[in-house]
Symmetry: C2
Subunit: 141 residues, 2 copies
């Protein structure tokens, strides 16, 4: 039997804030969008550039709702080629680095709806470097 | 800047029950496992056969915990080549089909830790067929 991963769906309260986080700050690209007038929701499919087959689906219900987190879901993980540059771009965009890459290898941030996102350095860890090496954890991730 | 999707992490209370669901019943394969004695946790990486670059990471903490769900996470979605066969295999394994594929196109089930999993028929919907066409929804998904 054939089986293929399509996407992980997350619900978002503010589609503009979510696209700003996932696209402008994290680096994903919008690949497809569906506006469902009757159901009053919008679906936006995002993927890493050049990797359209593994996507995040953002579901935005037009009628305001808030979405709490739960512990059965952990995080979305992405590999980056320079974890310091990726974290700097997030910081410049006002995103809190909950788990800074003190080890040159791993960092955690959260989306506007508290979805935890892990960043992992491709290959070997980068050499430890300030300000990252002495940057404290912030809250949970 | 390069960015690549690695995995979606979910926490599991019972690793055997989870592997039975994700592998035996859903059809994923174990590709990698890490037993961390010091941290007292096990990580198991699963992927669809032939698609090792999009994975689920199961995190199992050895000290018992329970993990509630939250609404900011929606579901994991997989494409299947025969949605009726996929659902039959899940039913045969004792899994509740929360949203049966009445339309020959879409179904939802839940993992032992209540992670919602969407199954989508590849290509066009299959022709409606009993017992699926008249099977009622069960709870939430």
């Amino acid at each position: 039997m054939s089986l293929k991963y399509l996407h992980t769906m997350v619900r978002v309260t503010d589609i503009d804030a979510s696209l700003d986080f996932y696209c402008n700050k994290l680096g994903l690209e919008e690949v497809h969008r569906i506006d469902a007038e009757t159901g009053r929701f919008t679906l936006v499919f995002l993927s890493a550039p050049g990797d359209p087959h593994a996507q995040i689906e953002l579901t935005h219900n037009w009628d305001p709702k808030t979405y709490e987190g739960g512990r059965n879901f952990g995080h979305l993980a992405y590999q980056v080629d320079d974890i310091y540059a990726a974290c700097q771009r997030l910081i410049d965009g006002g995103v809190t680095i909950h788990r800074p890459p003190r080890d040159g290898r791993m960092a955690f941030v959260r989306s506007p709806d508290e979805i935890s996102v892990e960043l992992l350095q491709v290959g070997d860890a980068l050499p430890p470097k300030e300000p990252w090496a002495s940057m404290p954890n912030v809250g949970m991730w």
